[in-house]
């Protein structure tokens, strides 16, 4: 226990003044009909997001990425642990958070088709947060909303259009513009491009990266697209069955992956040329499926699929340990205890 606490502090202690978001031992269990059974969507995760940084949260479907995002936003109440935003505890539900906090954290949902009200005009959608938070005087809201349309690269005549007359990419840009209205310092992007055409994804990503420079924001970028993360993330965290398996700076992550799961994922990135294939650090065949979060395997939760497992893996839960500067891994092969 003590050791765990140490490892946690070591993850989160670095440059505390620079940390925008700190998540400590966050757990989120959903109850099921059976009282003794829980869906362990998030099972003890800790990570930080620093100022002006893009943190990629990667994982398979069902690994708890979106639940993490929603829990940070306060859409779910967390089972235990804490979420700290700029030194302020925000572990409570969104409705209990002060209004000023709601300005600071914004989210862009996966499917822009459902995150924009079909019965409201784009102009109304973008000016609503401006009005709620009195960001600009009432007389200026339309002007500011139009500036925001410009910023994300949408034409001015969108202002009076309804979301259903826009394409998927344009809708997502509207959702981004809406998130920008309050000048947030942290933006959570929940797979913002996975519902879109490949051709539009690039435009959205470029816009997002430009805006980050301009507005001095941090991104928590949730995705399952590893090659996208390679291009834009500063650090990457891999989630598996509600837990972070490995967290490392992007270059480290792709060059010297430590966890067998990371190795598996990195070697499964599709590439075109044999030369690219040869550049991959390791070749591990992907096998098996992610188990149900209701019945988490005992010991290391990856043991059902791990090609390198040994006895401890079936019994003990490994702890997060630091293997390189800023590079943490949760695996018995690196755990000094074993």
């Amino acid at each position: 226990m003590n050791e765990m606490a140490n490892s946690v502090t070591s993850i989160n202690s670095q440059a505390t003044g620079d940390n925008v978001l700190v998540v400590n031992n966050m757990k989120k269990y959903f109850s099921t009909k059976d009282k003794d059974c829980f869906v362990k969507a998030i099972d003890d995760i800790s990570f930080t997001v620093r100022r002006n940084e893009v943190v990629g949260l990667v994982g398979e479907s069902g690994s708890g990425k979106s639940t993490t995002a929603y829990s940070i936003m306060g859409m779910h109440s967390i089972t235990s642990g804490e979420v700290i935003f700029k030194g302020q505890d925000i572990s409570m539900l969104a409705i209990k958070r002060p209004k000023s906090l709601k300005r600071e954290i914004q989210i862009v949902f996966q499917d822009p088709g459902t995150s924009l009200n079909p019965q409201r005009k784009i102009g109304e959608i973008i000016s609503m947060p401006l009005r709620v938070h009195n960001i600009v005087p009432r007389s200026q809201t339309e002007k500011r909303a139009r500036e925001l349309l410009d910023l994300v690269g949408l034409p001015q005549d969108c202002y009076y259009k309804s979301p259903r007359s826009l394409g998927g990419g344009e809708k997502q840009l509207v959702a981004i513009a809406r998130a920008l209205t309050t000048n947030p310092s942290l933006m959570i992007l929940d797979e913002p491009t996975s519902a879109l055409d490949v051709s539009i994804q690039a435009k959205i990503i470029t816009t997002l990266m430009e805006l980050r420079e301009q507005f001095d924001m941090s991104y928590l970028f949730i995705t399952h697209d590893m090659s996208l993360m390679r291009n834009i993330a500063d650090r990457i965290a891999i989630m598996y069955l509600g837990r972070i398996m490995e967290m490392a700076p992007t270059a480290d992550f792709f060059e010297k992956p430590q966890h067998p799961y990371t190795k598996m994922l990195v070697s499964s990135i599709p590439v075109v040329l044999q030369e690219e294939e040869d550049l991959k650090p390791v070749q591990v065949e992907s096998q098996g499926e992610i188990p149900s979060p209701v019945n988490v395997p005992p010991g290391c939760r990856f043991n059902t699929r791990c090609p390198e497992k040994f006895e401890s893996c079936l019994v003990d839960e490994p702890q997060m340990v630091k293997v390189f500067p800023d590079h943490y891994v949760s695996c018995h092969m690196h755990d000094p205890r074993t």
Binding site: R103, I107, T114, N117
Partner: protein, 302 residues
């Protein structure tokens, strides 16, 4: 600089009205694809016009009140009295035309009170789904829905003196619950949409979320229900006045006319058939219009 601003302001106004015009055109296109609903729409407009200009359209406006001319009593339809005359010699056509206003007032009056009350109740119950407020509202709604509305209306209007206003009140009391249930269903599913979550996360007030985010998405459903209800409420009003609990003679009323006329069946058939056909015409027109609006809504959702 200021010139440039002026220019953008102008274009924005232009594009606002252009977008609005586009919407109207698109909705009309969706609506008019079904020719029968266009017929309903035109018929409803005509009925409203007849109700407004009744004095000018009716051939014998003075026959709308206590007028007697026994020399012309119970005449079958002829060139002078197109739809015949009743037992006191009044022109049936004129009396039907004069009864339209009462029927429309009945329908509009009931819906204008029942719909807002029911919609607000339904929105609150939908927004607070799973909480005690919602449970209380919906159980009260269940109680009102479990009473047959015609029987409830009969009971209420029998207590008070029978007038048009009281029968309207009676129908309203039993009618709002339908709106509450309809809107509850829509609102409680919309409540979980991401755009509502997003508005909550931004910090919008409950008032804003309920009336600006949820209500606009229920609007078309409500409108369809309102149009379809017009016919049913008018029918119910006619039923109440048929048993003598609606507008009182000598005021012309379709239900009263039928109840006066059926005693003279089958000889003076025109006294029953034509008012009944008029009720059918009104109800059918509003139903066709309502179906057209429903089609328009469904086409939009695709």
């Amino acid at each position: 600089m200021s010139k440039k601003n002026e220019k953008t302001a102008n274009t924005s106004v232009a594009s606002r009205s252009a977008v609005r015009w586009d919407n109207i055109k698109r909705n009309w296109y969706m609506f008019s694809r079904n020719k029968i609903s266009v017929v309903g729409f035109v018929a409803v407009i005509l009925i409203i016009l007849v109700a407004i200009f009744q004095q000018y359209i009716a051939p014998y406006p003075e026959h709308s009140s206590a007028y007697t001319n026994f020399s012309a009593a119970k005449l079958s339809p002829n060139s002078q009295y197109w739809l015949g005359t009743d037992a006191s010699g009044r022109d049936v056509l004129s009396r039907i035309i004069f009864s339209f206003r009462g029927a429309l007032i009945m329908g509009v009056g009931v819906i204008m009170v029942a719909a807002p009350v029911g919609v607000i109740m339904g929105l609150l119950a939908g927004y607070y789904k799973g909480r005690i407020v919602s449970t209380i509202i919906m159980r009260v709604v269940d109680i009102f829905l479990s009473l047959p509305s015609l029987v409830l209306a009969l009971a209420i209007s029998a207590i008070f003196t029978p007038t048009l206003f009281h029968s309207m009140m009676a129908i309203t009391v039993s009618w709002w619950a339908w709106y509450a249930r309809l809107v509850y269903g829509a609102a409680s599913s919309i409540r979980n949409e991401y755009y509502i979550q997003s508005a909550e996360l931004i910090g919008a007030s409950r008032k804003h979320i309920i009336f600006r985010e949820i209500l606009p998405n229920c609007w078309f459903t409500i409108l369809t229900k309102m149009t379809l209800d017009m016919g049913i409420v008018i029918l119910m009003g006619a039923s109440l006045s048929f048993v003598g609990l609606g507008a009182q003679p000598p005021k012309p009323d379709l239900g009263t006319m039928i109840s006066d006329g059926y005693k003279l069946l089958p000889d003076a058939w025109w006294l029953t058939i034509f008012p009944a056909a008029a009720i059918m015409l009104i109800v059918l027109s509003f139903n066709l219009l309502g179906d057209g609006i429903a089609d328009m809504l469904n086409a939009k959702e695709v």
